[in-house]
């Protein structure tokens, strides 16, 4: 993140599916260090925060925190679906367990029609992905803690950082491997 903030736009953190402490110990240490920043303007969470400890962590990152209700968030009460605008982009956010088949882009496409968003953020599958489909971007940050999901053989802890500028978005995918963070960058255009 060497560039200046004004060049690159607003930083939006996309993170979710913590499931800690039920399924794991919590965020990897390298992620914790990364998230100790005040540069992030918005936090979009795909749900399953797991514990109030994680909730506090998210709320401390930015003022604008949006959390969708996950399938294991029985102790919390978040909205099922969230739609918001950041910069010139319309974003729809949901955990995704309500949309069947789970993680299916086509089904998500149908679901988002009521919002007509540019970016659709979903979770639940614990596998990060960025998909372009019919002119829209489908972003899945994966599980921030690498939480266990019975159908995923080896979940990798991951989250996504977006820098939303005027007409383009730079996406950074952070993955944890052997205690170190791996970043992959890609650019999306409107």
């Amino acid at each position: 993140m060497g560039e200046k903030v004004e060049d690159i736009g607003e930083f939006v953190l996309i993170i979710g599916d913590f499931h800690s402490p039920m399924r794991n110990l919590g965020l990897p240490d390298c992620f914790k260090d990364l998230l100790k920043t005040d540069k992030i303007k918005h936090v979009l969470c795909t749900g399953n925060v797991g514990s109030s400890e994680n909730l506090e962590l998210l709320k401390n990152i930015a003022d604008s925190v949006h959390i969708a209700q996950g399938d294991m968030d029985d102790n919390f009460n978040f909205p099922e679906e969230i739609s918001l605008n950041i910069g010139n982009f319309k974003i729809a956010l949901t955990h995704g367990h309500q949309i069947i088949p789970w993680g299916d882009v086509n089904a998500l496409m149908h679901w988002q029609k009521k919002y007509d968003s540019d970016i659709i953020i979903y979770g639940h599958t614990h596998k990060n992905s960025i998909t372009q489909y019919e002119g829209k971007y489908f972003i899945n940050p994966g599980s921030a803690t690498g939480a266990f999901q019975p159908w995923v053989t080896k979940p990798i802890p991951s989250f996504i950082l977006m820098a939303i500028a005027q007409n383009s978005i730079v996406v950074y995918v952070y993955e944890e491997k052997n205690g170190k963070t791996k970043v992959e960058m890609s650019e999306l255009h409107k």
Binding site: P21, M22, R23, N24, L25, G26, S51, E53, D71, M72, D74, H97, Q98, I100, P101, W102, G103, D104, V105, N106, A107, H110, K113, T125, K127, N128, S129, I130, T131, Q132, Y133, E134, F138, N140, F148, P150, W151, V152, T153, K154, S186
Partner: protein, 1014 residues
Amino acid sequence: MVCELRTSHLSPKYYYELYMLVFNELQHLDNFISDKKKHKKKIIDIYESVQHAGNIIPRLYLLIIVGRNYIKNKDIKAKYILKDLTELCKGVQHPLRGLFLRYFLIQMCKDRIPDSGSEYEEAGGGNIDDAFDFLLTNFYESLKLWSRMNEKIKVNSTLAKMADENIINNNKIKILKDKMDVKMLVGSILVRMSQLEGMTKQYYIQKCLPKILNNLFSINDGLIQQYIFESIVQVFSDECHIYSLPTLLNAIMKTDNSLVDFKSILITLLKRLRCFVESNKLDLPKEIDIFNLFYDHLVVYVNKTINVYGQKNKNSLNMNVSDYMNSNSSHNMHNNNSNNFITTTTTTTTTVNNNNNNNNNNSDNNNVVIVPNQDIETIKKNQNDLKGSSNKNLSEHEQTGVGPPAFHTSGININDYTNNSNIINKDYQNDIRNSKNNNNNNINQNSNTPRHSNLNIDSHYTSIKSNGENKNKHNHILLSNNNSNNNNSYNNSYNNSYNNSYNNSIRSNKIINEEECTQNIVKMLQVIYEFIFLCIQLYDDITISKLFILPYTIVSNVNMNNDIINDEVINIIVLPFQYLGLNTLKGNNMQTLLNSINEKHKKKLGFCIIDAIIECKNKTIAYEEVENIFNFIYHMFHEQINIYDVFNFEKNTFYSNCEKLCKFYHIITNIKDIDTKYNVCMLFLKHVKNGSYLIQLLPTIIFSLLNIVNTISVIRMYNFDKSGRSHIGDSNNYDGLTNVSEKKEDNLLYEDVTFNNEMNHNDGNLDPNSHHQNTPEHHEYSEKINSNDSATDYATFENIDDNKINHYNLYVKNIFKCIHSNLLLVKSDIPLLAFKLFFYTAVAVNNYNQFIVAHPFLCFNNLEAICYEFITQPLIVYEDDINKTTQQFNCIFWAVGILSSYISILESESYDNVASKLTQNAHKLLKKKDQCLSLLCCSHLYWENKKYRNSKKVIECLQKCLKTVENSLLSNQDSMFLFLYILQKYIYYYEAENLEIQIDTLNNLINLCYDNYI
């Protein structure tokens, strides 16, 4: 105004205020004198003339001012003036006035000292020696003055013999307070000393410290010594301390004034060293062996304190000992006179002395020998006499250099003693032999034979020692058991007799004594805590593990019913856990130390340890250690908590405890090895099972068990490849092969396919059709991902033979059984979670099929039935325990999601059963809207998985849905929007090429929506 300083009526506090006023005024005078133009006189003249002032106090104050300027002029050597001033100040011998005068002198001349590198040194005004001399002389004089502040007390008390005792006491307290008020005046001299440029490491060690200490010892005043020691520790640099540790420690220990509080000094010193070590780990000089330096002194110090403790509880201990001896009666009491009684006491309280006869100074051979605290001569005799015999015996046990177990009852002559130590050793040998035979230590046997039981405590201490030395693990375990048993019995008898005598003795007196002793013990434990903390920063595990003998010696000698002592011991125990994790348990005496904690505090201990382990960075886990730690923390699981009780105000604590336990669980199960992981999980479950934490912890345990199943399922890949192809190259080579092999298992790999979908997108392969499944490339892709992901795992699985596979299969069977039975237990407590967990397990069962298929020799024939069971159970949970409509609605969606994508081994018939059951439940939902949406959702049950695809059933669902909405429209027009959802689904299936969708229905729907919305 300066004359006012002559008063002797002011308390230090007010005198200080006065002093400050005068000081400010004198600054003006100072300015005037320093400005030659104003007075146009020679400084030497002023210096002379000032000395003619009438009163001594004003005269000296003025003289100091002038002297200060005189030095500045450099007309005369600084050291002469300074010496002159120091001498002249002797004229004031009133403690308070004198102290302030000295303080003034130092303040005024602190920048006029011929320090090395200063302008006055260049001017030939002297060197560092003179500078230091000046400060030291003043320091000494100040000390003398300061110590004389006590005299007032004595004078007062003799004068006021008739007066009320209270007044004397009050006076005493007041004077002591006054005395402490002026400490800063003396301390400032030390501060200035430490700031000297010439105060190098060498200078400090060779000249400064010895001289200060010399002066200090000539003042026989505990309070002052205490303060000065603390000041020394605080004021001088870390480096100085590290190199002068031996001197300093010796000095601290040498002061036998009971008023000197070693503990505070040591705590300050240890804290300082620790901070230093923390900030520059590498700078620590290797040649300084901090461990041994402190250790030697601490041993002495522990003795001192325990002795005092023992003395204070003399009566009770004597009773204990006499009871003990009477009952065992091999040594007669008649020889004991009252003096011996005391010796007995101290002996019983275990004196641990550093064995000076052994010249092993390296940290590996810290021999602690326990000798009775009789006269030193006897000790030496003992040791000399015993060396021959005991060493012979001991060498058989590889106990190099361990002295004889000299702990003993009094009144035994040396011959007796030698005999006994032989017996002990024989006894000890027996122990080992026995344990080799049946792994049972013969404690019971011990207590049966009177002679043996008499030596119970003796062998107990032998064990401690040999513990410290013995590297044989087998022996070690045995001995620690031995230890704890003895320890317990000892403590019990001790406590009993203590209580008895306590009741008999004069209470008020006792209480004061006891409190004092407890304070001492607590302080000592704090010192040890700091010491261990320091050592943790410095040394490896082995060295640290030796440390626990110190707290253990204390613990085995004090009454552990005391809360504060328990807390301190817990602190000590927990500390290493924070840095070493579970490795701590390897430490000698650690386990006995853990055992010594009072039952009442066991729960707290458990949580403290768990907290520490969570904090700890070192997370290596061994099964034995986990097993071990449970022995110490299991208490917490048995706590009965009713969280449904409205009046239980500790609910939050309960939940945070649950979270801690979860984290702890994740730490101990973070193991690569499948066998160990399985064992740890099961062990944990066993411990939690009957406690109130089961409900909260079960989901976590189940997830980790499923994780094990998943890991085992993945082994298939490697073995499958191995059988398919003899050569294993780099991971990329998998592609071609798997493409072929995968097709055989088309259905089985369904889940991989869905997941490959995303990976495909991820790679930037942004093909809009990629969600259409089951194209060959996808297989290839998914397999590639999998092989890459787990390429590292393959390495660990490389040596898996069929035996192992069979073994794993057993694990999995057990896991499924265990999950099933436990979930049934708690399902009504956590219906929502149980509902999902059943399904998750079903998915794991489903995926496990891959493993079975890959290993045809495995026997697991009812897998499908098990999967079916894990799917029907949640439906029962749904009907029985999930009552809220929103929850029901969510559950149906969730179940459809998991069934439609991740279940593939069910027979079509069973699957249809489940699907129709779910559809019925959807139909039964209370609200029309929920009914409609969940029915739409259920349609996926018959579509997503090709194995179970049934286009007609899909249409049935949609038609049912249409009917529901039409019906509801009769009563309520609001549900019109539901048509939109239905239309959306119709389009979805139309696009997905469901041939049953008729264009007519679609057009009708479109028209309907069009009419209603536009």
